[in-house]
């Protein structure tokens, strides 16, 4: 433990999102636009020590790190006990390599990885699915 006395803490977060398209039109797409945080700390400790605590807290925060460093996220649907083969359901917030790994893990060998709508700002390749059939 860093043993820095903190007598009070308040954090304010503003998280901004945008949703485009329509659920009814099968075109809905959500995106997180960004977030701003303000951390207020009451502490008699040396500011340098407090800064160290904050630095460690942010580096150790799984949520913060998940937002700063997007990770592979895959998904599958089981319909009436059977896998529903729909590569378009694979979450696309990942780079091309991770998309390929996720799609292949879920649906077997596909000639092309994944495609479709991509979140604004996501620097990922746009490819077209050649097949939606599972080889499993």
């Amino acid at each position: 433990m860093l043993k820095v006395s903190v007598t009070g803490m308040r954090m304010r977060v503003r998280a901004r999102y945008r949703v485009t398209g329509s659920v009814l039109n099968d075109s809905v797409m959500g995106a997180m636009l960004g977030a701003e945080t303000t951390l207020e700390i009451d502490s008699p400790a040396d500011p340098a020590q407090v800064a160290r605590v904050v630095r460690n807290a942010e580096r150790g925060c799984f949520v913060m790190q998940a937002l700063l460093n997007p990770v592979p996220v895959s998904g599958q649907t089981v319909l009436n006990g059977q896998p529903l083969a729909d590569p378009h359901q694979v979450v696309r917030v990942m780079d091309a390599w991770h998309k390929r790994v996720a799609v292949q893990a879920l649906f077997g060998e596909l000639s092309v990885a994944a495609a479709g709508e991509t979140p604004a700002g996501a620097e990922i390749e746009t490819e077209t699915l050649a097949s939606t059939e599972s080889t499993q």
């Binding site: 009070g8 308040r10 304010r12 977060v13 503003r14 945008r18 398209g21 659920v23 799984f62 949520v63």
Partner: protein, 72 residues
């Protein structure tokens, strides 16, 4: 025809959403969050950590909320 929820209106193509969270510590790990949606519909809930980290284990951890949010 019955009018559906505003959020499902297909004629609206773009919606901007902002959540504002105000989180205060009650103990070092027990925190109270009040979150509003575009400045309205305030909801308050708590999080804690388990005894292994020095918390009380009295509420879901932040990671529990985060993980479950994928399913919500």
């Amino acid at each position: 025809m019955a009018q559906g929820p505003e959020g499902l209106d297909p004629t609206v193509q773009t919606r901007e959403i902002a959540f504002e969270a105000d989180v205060r510590s009650v103990t070092p790990f027990l925190k109270l969050a009040t979150v509003s949606h575009n400045g309205t519909a305030h909801k308050t809930f708590v999080c804690d950590e388990g005894p292994s980290l020095g918390g009380l284990g009295s509420a879901p951890t932040p990671l529990m909320y985060f993980s479950a949010a994928l399913a919500f």
